[in-house]
Each structure stands twice: as C-alpha cells, then as structure tokens.
C-alpha cells in the first residue's frame, strides 16, 4: 500500500507548515504532494480526483480539518480516503472528536519524519487488513 508514487494532499493555512509536512514526506520518499490552504480548497482538489492520502491541519479558516474530514467521509467517492489529522493539541476531547469524525490517524505537532512514518505505517496496516 505504501507506494512512493502515492499522491498526497497537505492541507494547512500556514504555508510554512505545509512546507514542513512536504519536507517530512519527502524524507520518507513521497514526492507526489499537492497543497491546499484550507478545507474548502482541499475538498475542491479532492473532488478533482487522483489523491491517495490526506494530511490535514485542524484549525483553519473557511473550512476546518474536522469539517473537511466529515465532508470526505460523507462523500461516496472519497469516503475511503485515509485522512491523517494534525493538531497542536493532545486534548482528549479533540482526539475523540477526530475519531468520531472518522480520522484514520492523529498526530500532534511538532513531530518528526519517524513519527509521521510510524503513524502512516499504522494507517496502511489497518487499511491492508480492511481491504
């Protein structure tokens, strides 16, 4: 499942953060990465098709990460897309909220390539079991 050609969508309103995530993904060998600056833009891009993995921030203007996640899960075309939520908080209620909305994984800022890899590995593992 972890194919280096996988296409990622990195969603964050802070371009520095998008660049950080992009660099970390590159470190892990994933170079096919597109970016979106909020949930609304991301959803539009996702509806265009071709994406295999979404890494999204939580707190964004226009459309938050949770709203994006909910929209993805509600869409028949996108509902199986893995979505990794990034957030600055390790608050219990946040995690529960993400889980309820159907996040595939949850990662707390700041993180390293190793942590990202581990989280992604778990997601792939789970997807492998499911599929």
């Amino acid at each position: 499942m972890s194919d280096p050609k996988m296409k990622f969508l990195v969603v964050d309103d802070f371009s520095t953060m998008r660049r950080i995530v992009r660099n970390l993904l590159k470190e892990l060998g994933y170079t096919n990465v597109d970016e979106a600056e909020d949930g609304a833009v991301a959803l539009q891009k996702l509806q265009g098709g071709g994406f295999d993995f979404v890494v999204t921030d939580w707190n964004m203007p226009n459309m938050t990460g949770i709203e994006l996640l909910q929209a993805i899960r509600a869409s028949s075309a996108l509902k199986d897309l893995p979505v990794l939520m990034i957030t600055a908080e390790a608050k219990k209620e946040n995690i529960i909220m993400a889980a309820q909305a159907g996040a595939s994984g949850y990662i707390v800022k700041p993180f390293t390539a190793a942590t990202l890899s581990e989280k992604m590995g778990k997601i792939f593992e789970k997807m492998g079991k499911a599929g």
Partner: protein, 652 residues
C-alpha cells in the same frame, strides 16, 4: 552561532509568515478593543496564536510555544464566552503579543528565544483563571510575588510538557485503543493521559501596570528593527548598500513569475526572428518585404521588453498593507500613553510598492504617525472645548497616482501655526529675521523639516527631541520622493509623501555644460528658468536670484565641478532639497530621461551617484547634488560679475 543550523530556510519562512500573522493579530486586537464581543475576531486571533505555536514547535522554540499556548488558552475562553475582556486582560494580551514579537526578533538573530517575563506569564495565567481583576485581587494576596510565582510554575508543570515538549513526536496516545474506545466497546484505555491543560492554577498576585513602557519601547517592540536612523542623504543609489545587508528573500506570486517566464520565452522567439532577418539583410536582401518584417520584429521586441520590465518590476512589488498593518497598534499604544483617544484608519492597503521602499518607509511613517498623535491631535479637553469629538482620527492612506505612489498621513487635530513655526525657527537661529519675514505658509510649514527643529514646548518622550522630521524628509528623498505639508488651523494637518513606483528607474533631467551632458535627479528639480541679468542680485558677495519672493543662491555647475566657466550660464534649475533651495546654473538642458542607474562600485568620484546610458547610447554621469554642494559649497557660489561676465553691459 545559530541555533538553527540546517533550518535557516524554514526559519526564514516562518519569520516572514508568522510576522505577517502577528501584525494581523495586532490589528485585530486594536479592533477588538472597540468591539470586544466579536466572536469572529476572537476566533481569528485565537487561530493566529495557535498557528504560530504550531510552527514554533517545529523550530523547538519552547518558550515561544509556551507563551503562545497560554495566550491561545486565554482566547479559547474568551471566544467561548467563558471570560469577558477587561481592560486589564487587554493589557496582558497586548503585552503577550509584544513578547511574541520580541521572541521573533531573537529568532531572527539565530537564537532560541529566552523565557518570557515570568510576571507576564503569571498575569496570563491569572487572566485565564478569570482572576485578573485590578483592585479586587490585591487584598487577597498576602503572599509576596516571589513566593507566589514558583507555585504557579510548578502547578503548571504536569500539564505543559504533555502539550509542549514532543521533540520526538511521541504524544503518548494510543490512538487505536482510543479509536476503539470511542467507536466501540471498551471504556477509555489507561494509555490516555488526563490532558486538561485548561486547568491552569491561578497564583493570586497583585496585578501590575503593564503600561510602564516608554513610547520608544512601544515602537521598538513593534518594529523590531533599527532603533535609529542617522540623518544623511547618501544619494539616489544609496539603497544598494543598505539592501545588501538586509534580508534578501521575497515572496512572489507564482503567476507573476510565470508571466516573466512567458515574456522571456517570447523575446527569445523574436530574437530568432531578428537573427533570421539579419542573415537575410547581410546576404543582400533589402526588399520592402524584408524591411517591413524587420520593422515588425523590432516593434514587437520593443513591446515585449517593456512588458518584461514591468513584469520584473512587479515581482518586487508588495502590497503596502504589510507595512500599514503595524501602525494601528503603535498609534493605539502611543495615544494611550498620552491619554488620548486616537483611531488610525487605514486605506489603500492593496497599493503595491517596491519591497525595498516598504522597508525604508517604515521609520518615516512611524515618525509621521507619532507626530500626528503627539503634536497634531489636541488633548481631549482642548478638542471638546473646540467643539470636536473627543475621539480623533488619523488617516493613513496609500494610492497610486500615475507613475507615483502617494502616501498620506492626516490628522484632524489643531493644525499648524505658521507664525509660531517661524518664531520658533528664529529663536533657534535656524533662519534669519529677513528669511522669516519673506516666508509664506508653505515655507513656514517646511521649517519643521530642518535639523534641530522641535515645536513642542514641553518635550515628551514620544516625540519632540528634535530628531525625526528632518530624518523623515531625508529618508523620503533617499527614495527619490518628496514630502509636502497641508494644514488648516483647527482642522488638522496632512503630510503627503509622493514616491516613484520603483527605484530601478530614476527620472532625471539631463543638463549640459558646454557639450557635456550630466543628469540630476528629477525629484529635486522644481522648475527651470532663464537666468536674466536684471533678476540677479548680489547678496553678501554671492549671486542670488529672487524667484517669487524667495531669495535663492546661485551655484554654477561648472563651479561645483571645478571646471572653468567657458560660457555664460543661460539657465537656472531650481533645486529643492531638505536643507536648502538653490538655483543650479547650467549652459543648456536636453530634457527628461528615465535613467537606469548603474552604480560605480569600485570607483566612485565625489559627487557622482552613478552612470546611465541615454537613448542615443551616450554615457552620462548622474550627479549627487548633496555631495557636490557639501564638498564645494563655498567655492560653488559665484559672484554676480563672474556669473554674468559677458552680459554686464546689458545689465548696466
């Protein structure tokens, strides 16, 4: 040594983006003071701190993370209406924003930020706990500060590390256990830490006055750059040296770069076409068809090159809003420290201006704003007595007018008193009695640009140290711009700054001495007049000319350059600078040109700012008038006799 080896790029990106974000937050805070219950604003500010915190985490800037985290928590409570904004809370928030900016400055120097003032941290914690009440908490605080503060520190420790310190990214959360817990059967696993950072312990402590900062601190904190600027005009190319020492990166919209790319591609195609035509012509083809094709190709190249120049210039253009954003907060803090109620209204933030100019404008605009807030706007009781509203409005506007950018700083204060200005300048010995008597209003207003002039009889720490306005003028002139004053007594004062669109192209006036052309910056030229013997008078052994009641010294260009005067100067160019107006006597002039300045790096003769190439291919020196006058002001002046050598009989 930098604490960020290998992360410099990331750090730069972060500082630029987070800096903009923080300026935005500053502005929203000023708005928030007026509409404290605006949930939209509260949300945006919350998100600002949240985003900065997230980025700072990746830079391992722990102290910055802690500070942003506390502020964010406070805003979380505010936006959820668990707390209401009080003036005290506002002070703490503004202080926190200032501290964040201080930390950015430390980051910019390549250092990890040091811990924020513990007092500020404890104030934030108090505010979060809802205990930040100016008077009420005082009696309830028997414990002295040093005893109370550590208690708060230790109380926070179990919470903070969970949220903050994750260099390795191990957040200690068993996601899958939790996932199952939430979506399925079993109760929450023990792996989940009880993370409730909102429960911050309040150490009761007397609240302190955070407004103790001086105005200079306010400005320094807000700007974080160059505490002072030395007066001194370094010529039109001066910016190049300055530019080298500054941050050299710029954010450009990719569509603009694409345009540059497109145009260079098209120019390449046109070049190929011209190459083909050249071989045709060299091979003897000169029929009308070939010549027509050549004409078309050259016209096309002409268009494309000017489009390319524009497109490249545009990549340097930034909306001036990035600069304006800093000011509402500064104006607010200044006004508050002076006990005035001033609102800074911005408009035209989208106006685009050369990036270098944005940086160089920062200080002059601050001076103008603080001048407006301090001197322009009357104290509240005077305003009320004059039948004005107690709140005054200072406008900061930008707009493009033709090939110029106009920036306006206008107040609705008391206006300027020409009579008083003249008296002051006279008293300070800056002008003579005679000069004072011949001055019109406009000239009197311009007196404030003289070095050493300060009008406030009571020198405040905000302005009025006599440095400032002359530096403003010098800095604006350095950018080849001009500054003008309009004022109506009782109604207010308006400063109008006019700047060229770009510094890459300098409009010049080409003047001639015999056959030799020289270029002078057009921004200094007020008008050109013929030198007629009957208008030339000798004052104190110097030739002078009276232009509309103003007595101006005449300097001959040949005299300034140390050339023998071979011809009688026919024309005078009325030059206007911060320090003086004078007439530059020349033989003839060739007209206006847009010069692309090439600076002389290795070899720089005195009085020469750079060189440029005229449309006919001739190389011309661009004169640095200030330097020329400075070096030879005395011998540059000429007697009436010398000036009018051959014309004396006519005059007699």
């Amino acid at each position: 040594m930098s604490d960020f080896a290998g992360m410099e790029d990331l750090l730069q990106d972060f500082l630029i983006e987070a800096g903009d974000l923080l300026s935005g937050v500053d502005n929203k805070l000023v708005d928030l003071e007026r509409t404290p219950n605006d949930t939209g604003l509260l949300n945006e500010i919350f998100r600002g701190f949240h985003t900065i915190k997230g980025g700072a985490g990746f830079l391992n800037a722990t102290e910055l993370v802690t500070l942003c985290h506390l502020t964010e928590n406070l805003f979380d409570k505010l936006r959820n209406a668990e707390l209401a904004i009080t003036p005290d809370a506002m002070d703490v928030i503004l202080a926190a924003t200032g501290a964040v900016r201080d930390m950015f400055n430390e980051l910019e120097r390549g250092q990890q930020p040091s811990a924020a003032d513990p007092h500020l941290i404890s104030q934030l914690k108090l505010a979060i706990a809802g205990n930040l009440v100016g008077g009420a908490s005082k009696p309830a605080a028997p414990a002295p500060v040093p005893a109370a503060a550590p208690k708060a520190e230790t109380a926070l420790v179990p919470v903070a590390p969970v949220v903050v310190h994750h260099p390795v990214g191990d957040d200690g959360i068993d996601w899958y256990a939790l996932y199952e817990a939430v979506t399925g059967v079993s109760p929450a696993s023990a792996g989940v830490p009880a993370a409730a950072p909102a429960a911050v312990v309040a150490a009761v402590e007397p609240s302190h006055d955070l407004d103790g900062k001086s105005a200079d601190d306010i400005i320094k904190a807000a700007i974080g750059r160059r505490a002072s600027d030395k007066p001194g005009y370094s010529g039109p190319t001066g910016r190049r040296e300055v530019e080298r020492t500054r941050d050299n990166s710029i954010r450009v919209d990719t569509s603009r770069l694409d345009q540059v790319l497109n145009l260079s591609g098209e120019i390449g195609l046109t070049k190929n076409r011209l190459n083909a035509l050249r071989s045709d012509i060299l091979n003897g083809r000169s029929d009308s068809e070939t010549l027509h094709a050549l004409d078309v190709a050259v016209s096309q190249l002409d268009l494309l090159v000017s489009d390319l120049q524009n497109a490249v210039m545009k990549t340097r253009m930034q909306p001036i809003g990035r600069l304006f954003q800093k000011y509402p907060r500064i104006a607010r803090d200044l006004a508050r420290s002076l006990g005035k109620d001033v609102e800074l209204m911005l408009s035209g933030e989208e106006t685009e201006i050369d990036k270098t100019m944005i940086e160089d404008l920062s200080d002059p605009i601050i001076h103008l704003i603080r001048n407006a807030v301090d001197h322009g706007v009357e104290p509240t009781h005077e305003r009320l007595a004059a039948g004005k509203s107690d709140k005054s409005v200072v406008r900061l506007e930008a707009r493009q007018e033709g090939d110029h950018i106009v920036i306006i700083v206008a107040d609705d204060g008391r206006g300027m008193n020409a009579e008083r200005l003249r008296a002051k300048a006279l008293e300070k010995g800056l002008i003579t009695d005679e000069e004072a008597n011949t001055m019109d209003e406009r000239q009197s207003y311009n007196l404030i640009f003289l070095p050493g002039f300060s009008t406030a009889s009571a020198v405040s720490d905000v302005s009025g140290r006599g440095v400032g306005m002359d530096v403003v003028k010098t800095n604006i002139q350095k950018l080849n711009g001009t500054i003008d004053i309009r004022s109506t007594q009782g109604k207010g004062t308006t400063f109008i700054i006019s700047l060229p669109l770009t510094l890459a192209i300098l409009p010049v006036l080409v003047v001639r001495l015999a056959e030799q052309p020289f270029a002078v910056p057009l921004s200094m030229v007020r008008e050109i007049l013929p030198i007629e013997a009957q208008h030339v008078q000798e004052v104190g052994g110097r030739a002078t000319m009276v232009v509309r009641g103003e007595v101006l010294p005449i300097y001959t260009l040949s005299g300034l350059l140390g050339w023998p005067q071979e011809h009688v100067a026919e024309y005078g160019v009325l030059m206007q600078t911060a320090e003086r107006n004078y007439v530059l006597a020349i033989d003839s002039f060739a007209g206006r040109e847009d010069a692309v300045i090439k600076s002389l790096d290795a070899f720089r003769p005195k009085g020469v700012a750079g060189v440029t190439t005229l449309s006919n291919g001739q190389i011309v020196l661009i004169l640095d008038m200030k330097e020329l006058l400075g070096s030879s002001a005395d011998q540059g002046g000429t007697t009436r006799k010398a000036l009018l050598r051959d014309r004396m009989p006519v005059a007699a």
